[in-house]
Symmetry: C2
């Protein structure tokens, strides 16, 4: 709407700024002409204020609606929120508190809180609203009056009433803000994060934080009230996890000794199983020092669950029910799809595919003679509509970069006959259909798949740009199962999940002879291309755990407490962790997890608000027996 | 019961150990004679097993009862818990999982889980339970059968039935435990903490952790469902709080830069008020490096609350209602008592008095001539029943130590006439009554009170030992209000609460002239001698905040983000934090907060389980740009 107005007249913009309509859409309706001549009208007392009223965000509307059953004003000196009042309140004396949204003509004062907007009217000369700075916090004591019916604002929840001000109190005045709360003039993220306490007033942030609180509360209700889970808080200051991610260290006043900040409550939750807390959960704060990875936070939150006497299916059923109950109506019917790791790799080239569009790899290895002699050999094609005709040089360069990363051969559609031979090209075309072009990759099978998986993302972006692919808006959660237990790392075998994951019982015989072929009882849940959680059946047998640790070259003496817990009569158990930040981000279609966290860090782990991390004093260094070695 | 048996015969003990009746009270009833002759009876097949059944702890009984509305077996391969089965289940095929509580006569297998005990019967020769080590985890597939009516065990929730075992599966076998789970042979705390995963199986720990989970869940329900609060997670990696407690530091890979672990979400919750999250709460993990103070943990949990547009009374009403709703029936009627700080100091010599017994200080300053010239002078007596007659040398020494600490004069009852004069002694006696003896203290008024406050604790212990004082069992929560805003520290004024606490509006005129006389809008809630929470109305005006910081000699530039938040139109607000660990400990009458925490640290901040804190590698030191300076 605003954009249309800008097109018509510069005067509109000026006028709107004068009116301080801020971040809400201005409802123009039939008054566009009035607006263009606004400068004159402003000076007239008879100006029709209703015509300029505010369109409340849908999200706020929802809050107001939810709110009807709730009282958001208990224990405060307001009687109602700015979203509460309706025709039924006419005649009541009320107290409202809120930010000055705009004030004009010495008469109209629009105040806002997190629940809505209310128009207040000055009708005596003692009250002066002329010099009220925007975003000043005020308290209005007044009487609810009905607006004339033709001046109802149906776009505003409180649009049928206004408050006749009896007393106006300035609670906290504002001098100058670093940015305005205009929706279409949102400042850059860095500035918003630096002044997060203002940024949080935007309806999007209000909505996200309130929805997040509700979501987590509903998860708790499901677990505690319907399924007798017990929430147990576990420590975050602990010892280093051998073989895990990089963990922050915390010096203590014991000379030379450090805690590590836990990367997850994994060891604790397994020890709780040994301790008879057989249905455990926790909304747990976790720490990982991964400043270099994009869209990660040094601290994050996970819903952590562990259950005794259960199986892979037990946990999968539990989480499916939990998600369905928490996101009623937003998810497909149960059960969610399950895909094996191998299937995901061979069809999508990734273990967290986005299934919302139809673009699948195809295995054409059998057309190549190497496939009969080299078990690691793979040839896969990625078919796509021939309507795309040609990839531009920019995308070809991108594809080439991906190819280099995986060290495989990639052949674009136009070169296949030339490079691979007409015959094979014909065979491929007969499989995938004439209406499709292809990208072919040949080489180490896993790398070929991963390479085409990344090319698939690039290709989707191109196809979407040209409207040649349909991307489904639905939420499409599914499970990946049958992960390998190990993968080959630089220093030998690495756990694919973590060292406590149980091997698949059907593959135990391969543990010594062909460990890379052993599947595990791990599972991931993937939502629209994001891994939102993962877990596994755990090893409960100390002997087997010892054997796995040895294969992974992990010194089990550093885990003696954990090994002793397994030996003490630890029940068989399994568990999972869901990433709350990521889950919220996907559900709110937020670009970054920063958008669903009240006070996030920037991507280099710095706090834009306080400037943390900071230097510490030499006294602190002495107390903690450390010396900062600046480089 | 067990103790009676020990008195009668050593044989009993031996027998009980043989039967592995573990930590549950043995119900002796009319079978005491049978027991004494047990050795013989054991060898007879006809031994009446019901007579030796187990008394379930009251706490477990409760769990079973609660459980009836709940299903504790969803998503598992057990059909019921060991506390579930009743006569109505007779004939059903069931699957139970649990620890071997005892196994004997090749026939009787008692299995236990966190919900109760169930007796299982072997009635075929294929199943061998003879060599089953205690605490081994087993799965029993069987059929529920009725016990003969005269063999019902009414002390056991499942006492009307037994399970005829069809299949017995050993899920995880135990070799040797570091200690047994016998109630009357509980090992020392250090050993229990070292093997916490076994210690947690004791019914007391099960009860505490499950009650804690319920308590916190009920608090959340009250706040979210009844009063529209929003739970917001705030970061723990932040900048140093100027003027606060000692904070752990966390080195980062940015050379020379450290995070601090937050001691509370104070700054964040106030910034949330500025950001429009006007009804905030969080069950928040907090960190303080106070290894030297007894019964503290380096990390602890608080219920953190902040509310916009409220007052001291608003928060007090909120918390009273929250506690009443959470601990239904355990607390006195509302409203709780309120005592001013001065009243508490002058009547009990502390700001967290225990009101469960009647022992009060009395101000007798007016009897001394100094009181008219020296406003800091105080003379107080602590009256106590003369039936005590005389304090032993041991207690006199204790009192002397306290006296030295506060540098005041203390005169015991027998010396008053001699040291202070007969006349004053008579006057005091006429005030406090002839039936009382007294301890008198004279000197700096505050120190005199604090000194007598500590002596009051010592005296109470003596009086209790001799049954000369009645200590009420009730929970007696009350509020302390009207704290001073400042106290005098070594380097000048210090905040009594924290630097963000609002001064009492009636005392603002004293801020420049007599700051130590200024009261604050802070409040503490005290329960049976423990401070379980505290909070205040905050300063929302940037100018006033600046002035207070200056008086406290705190550099406000280190709080520029916070000051800017106040300037951005921050609503007036107030808040509180309740210590969840302490609250649980008081409610469970636990001796230490360690008893209500799943995995606590020892008092020197060490983790008895893993041995943390530990040395870190030189690679880690290099990565974090620190050098450990061992001394």
């Amino acid at each position: 709407m605003l954009r249309i107005m800008w097109g018509r007249s510069n005067l509109c913009t000026k006028l709107l700024n004068n009116f301080h309509t801020k971040y809400y859409d201005v409802k123009v309706q039939r008054t566009i002409q009035t607006l263009i001549n606004g400068n004159r009208i402003i000076k007239q007392r008879s100006f029709n204020t209703q015509r300029l009223d505010i369109t409340i965000e849908e999200s706020n509307q929802k809050l107001c609606h939810d709110k009807k059953q709730l009282d958001c004003s208990t224990f405060t000196y307001r009687t109602h929120t700015c979203g509460d009042l309706r025709s039924e309140h006419v005649g009541q004396n009320v107290v409202l508190c809120g930010w000055v949204q705009y004030a004009r003509l010495s008469k109209f004062l629009l105040i806002r809180d997190s629940y809505g907007l209310t128009q207040c009217i000055v009708n005596n000369t003692y009250i002066n609203i002329n010099d009220l700075p925007l975003e000043t916090i005020v308290k209005v004591v007044g009487t609810v009056a009905s607006r004339p019916k033709d001046m109802y604002n149906h776009e505003m929840a409180t649009g049928e009433i206004e408050i006749i001000i009896n007393k106006l109190e300035i609670l906290n005045e504002v001098s100058k803000l670093p940015f305005n709360l205009r929706k279409y003039q949102k400042p850059k993220e860095q500035l918003r994060l630096q002044h997060r306490y203002i940024d949080l007033r935007f309806p999007e942030m209000q909505n996200v934080l309130r929805q997040r609180s509700k979501m987590v509360h509903n998860m708790r209700k499901f677990l505690v009230e319907e399924h007798s889970f017990v929430e147990v808080e576990t420590p975050t200051l602990f010892c280093r996890t051998p073989g895990g991610a990089r963990e922050f260290v915390v010096p203590t006043h014991h000379s030379g000794l450090f805690y590590s900040l836990v990367q997850s409550p994994q060891q604790f939750k397994q020890m709780l199983m040994a301790g008879g807390i057989d249905r455990y959960f926790q909304i747990a704060r976790c720490y990982r020092d991964e400043a270099t990875r994009p869209d990660r936070q040094p601290e994050f939150t996970q819903l952590d669950i562990e259950l005794s006497f259960t199986s892979l299916n037990g946990i999968i059923n539990l989480i499916e029910l939990l998600l369905i109950k928490t996101f009623d109506g937003k998810l497909p019917k149960l059960p969610f799809k399950r895909i094996t790791y191998m299937e995901a790799l061979e069809s999508y080239g990734t273990d967290k595919p986005n299934l919302r569009y139809d673009l699948k790899l195809k295995n054409v290895s059998s057309l190549f003679s190497q496939s009969s002699t080299d078990t690691n050999f793979g040839a896969f094609v990625l078919p796509y509509t021939s309507k795309l005709v040609k990839l531009t040089a920019k995308y070809k360069e991108k594809i080439n970069e991906i190819r280099k990363k995986y060290n495989v051969r990639v052949v674009l559609n136009e070169n296949i006959s030339k490079e691979i031979g007409h015959e094979i090209n014909e065979e491929i075309k007969s499989i995938i259909g004439e209406e499709n072009d292809i990208i072919l990759s040949v080489g180490d099978k896993k790398n070929v798949c991963l390479c085409l998986g990344e090319i698939r993302n690039v290709l989707t972006a191109v196809l979407e740009l040209k409207s040649l692919i349909k991307i489904n808006d639905d939420l499409e959660p599914f499970w990946i199962v049958d992960f390998p237990l190990f993968e080959m790392g630089e220093d030998g075998l690495q756990p694919c999940h973590h060292p406590f994951t149980a091997p698949h019982p059907d593959d135990l015989h391969l543990l010594n002879t062909d460990p890379l072929k052993v599947r595990s009882l791990a599972y991931d849940i993937v939502l629209n291309g994001h891994e939102i959680g993962g877990g596994s059946v755990r090893i409960h047998n100390a002997e087997l755990q010892e054997r796995i640790l040895k294969m992974l070259n992990i010194d089990s003496s550093k885990l003696s407490h954990f090994m002793n817990a397994l030996k003490s009569g630890c029940p068989p158990h399994a568990g999972i962790a869901l990433g709350i930040d990521r889950l919220m981000a996907v559900l709110c279609t937020a670009e970054s997890i920063r958008d669903v966290i009240a006070f996030p860090k920037s991507h280099d782990g710095k706090d834009p608000l306080s400037g943390a991390p900071n230097k510490i004093s030499s006294d602190d260094q002495k107390y903690y027996h450390i010396k900062s070695t600046e480089t």
